[in-house]
Amino acid sequence: MTDPAAPLLRLDGVRKDFGKTRVLRGVTLDVAERTVVSVIGASGSGKSTLLRCINLLEPVTDGQIFLDGEDISDPRVNADAVRRKIGIVFQSFNLFPHMSVLANVTLALRRVSRLPKGEAEERGTALLRRIGLESKAKAYPDRLSGGQQQRVAIVRAIASDPKLLLLDEITSALDPRLVGEVLDLVRELRGADTTIIMATHEMPFARDVSDSIVFLSDGVIEEQGPPEQIFGEPRSEKTRGFLAGF
């Protein structure tokens, strides 16, 4: 916590089994503050599981996860407090259908940070303005396009300024013509110094915005490096094989 060079997030030998299925078999990774890390890998390679473990939505089978130097995989830590510091955006948006767009965005501010309603709505409205959806504040999520819903989900996740933002294939469920607007927003967040870990299949985008690429295969990190190296001269045969499919 005191060492400025210490990574924001450190995974140390993280394992995750679902019954007999061994999904993560020892993932070790450092993520420095204000960097963007893209996790790539075949479908079913464990990208979502990794992000869900970081966010404590799934307990790890073994290994440790440190956020800001604190071991958050320890059962004694307050998981709710940890999740407040980590935002996540899902492939399927998961907006709350019974709440207006603004209520979705301000929920954590109102119920977790306990800001007064007026202040929360002011911040929520500012966030919606930023993504050009201020006019939809009172609308319900089912009135929005997929791209609009996903952008709302992103600002909902960053509303209470998390230290770390996890993006789980956030464009995979979108109509191709709606992908651009969502990726533009992520690019903007990168400029705003947010630390991001994203699972993605958008290779050109990953190459463009990431500081580091992690290739996940068979539950372990097969190869990791800067985008130019991973995409330009992958060292592993498996990485080469995977990237050849794009």
Partner: protein
């Protein structure tokens, strides 16, 4: 409207005329069949041997008017029972439903208790529950004298909570787990997630079934009369005992129907709205 009509093609004008002709015909057919049915009922009744006697014992205007004030006064008791029972059922039913949908192993004993509860109270006839509560609790001699209306209300709450809990449980299970994940990832606690995210969506999904249970409850509150509470049914019974004429029962029955009508129509209206919304969603 007329300007739009002016722009209609000949084909559409012809189609509209056809549809109109069809619907006029349908209205005529249904009116005719209703008239025929009423006539048949009238003939059957008036020609049956005992009709005069039945009419005099069940539909006597004099006894009807006579019993009306006391039956209506009794209905106020039913309304009071209904009011408190709805509150009790909402609270207890939700609590049981939430308990049954927990997954934590440490809560297993509570889950088992909730399951046993719903099994018992859905299986037992309402009247037996009423007897057990109405005569069993006073028999314990812990609380002193308890008002029959209160005991009846408790019995109604116990039985209907079991039904409502099962309906709400179905609603909770229909809320996708990703909604919980999204809520928890924002830092909401487990109980906040249940209250703010899961229950509101669950209840919306089962509103028609809940309304149905409410309508059933509306008439079952008449059963508190078996414990001696002076409600509409009991008042009618007293009037019948005095006159040996059954018209007061018909009066009480009519009042229960009148009491339920607004709500039944609200239910229909809501179901229609839901259907419209779903169809609108499907068209997008």
């Amino acid at each position: 409207m007329s300007r739009d009509a002016a722009r209609l093609s000949a084909t559409e004008t012809e189609r509209r005329a056809y549809r109109k002709k069809q619907s006029v015909r349908s209205v005529f057919v249904s009116c005719a069949s209703l008239a025929a049915f009423s006539f048949a009922v009238y003939i059957t009744l008036s020609r049956s041997e005992g009709w005069t006697r039945v009419r005099n014992t069940f539909f006597d205007p004099h006894y009807f008017a006579d019993s009306l004030p006391s039956v209506f006064h009794g209905l106020l008791t039913n309304l009071r029972v209904l009011f408190f029972a709805v509150l009790g059922v909402a609270a207890l039913g939700t609590l049981i439903a939430v308990t049954r949908t927990t997954v934590s192993p440490v809560l297993f004993p509570l889950r088992a208790l909730a399951t046993v509860y719903t099994d018992i109270f859905r299986g037992m006839p309402m009247i037996i529950v009423l007897y057990l509560i109405g005569f069993g609790i006073p028999g314990l001699r812990i609380f002193g004298r308890i008002d029959a209306t209160l005991l009846g209300t408790i019995a109604v709450i116990l039985v209907y909570s079991a039904y409502v809990a099962e309906v709400i449980r179905a609603g909770i299970e229909a809320v996708h787990p990703s909604q919980r994940a999204a809520a928890r990832s924002l830092g909401l606690t487990h109980s906040q997630t249940v209250r703010i995210i899961v229950l509101p969506q669950a209840v919306r999904k089962v509103v028609p079934a809940l309304m149905n249970d409410f309508v059933a409850m509306q008439k079952d509150v008449g059963l508190v009369s078996v414990l001696g509470a002076i409600d509409a049914v009991r008042s009618a019974q007293i009037a019948v005992a005095k006159s040996y004429n059954f018209t007061p029962y018909v009066a009480a029955g009519l009042m229960f129907i009148l009491m339920s009508l607004p709500f039944i129509h609200l239910t229909d209206w809501y179901a229609a709205r839901l259907k419209r919304r779903e169809q609108a969603g499907g068209a997008v």
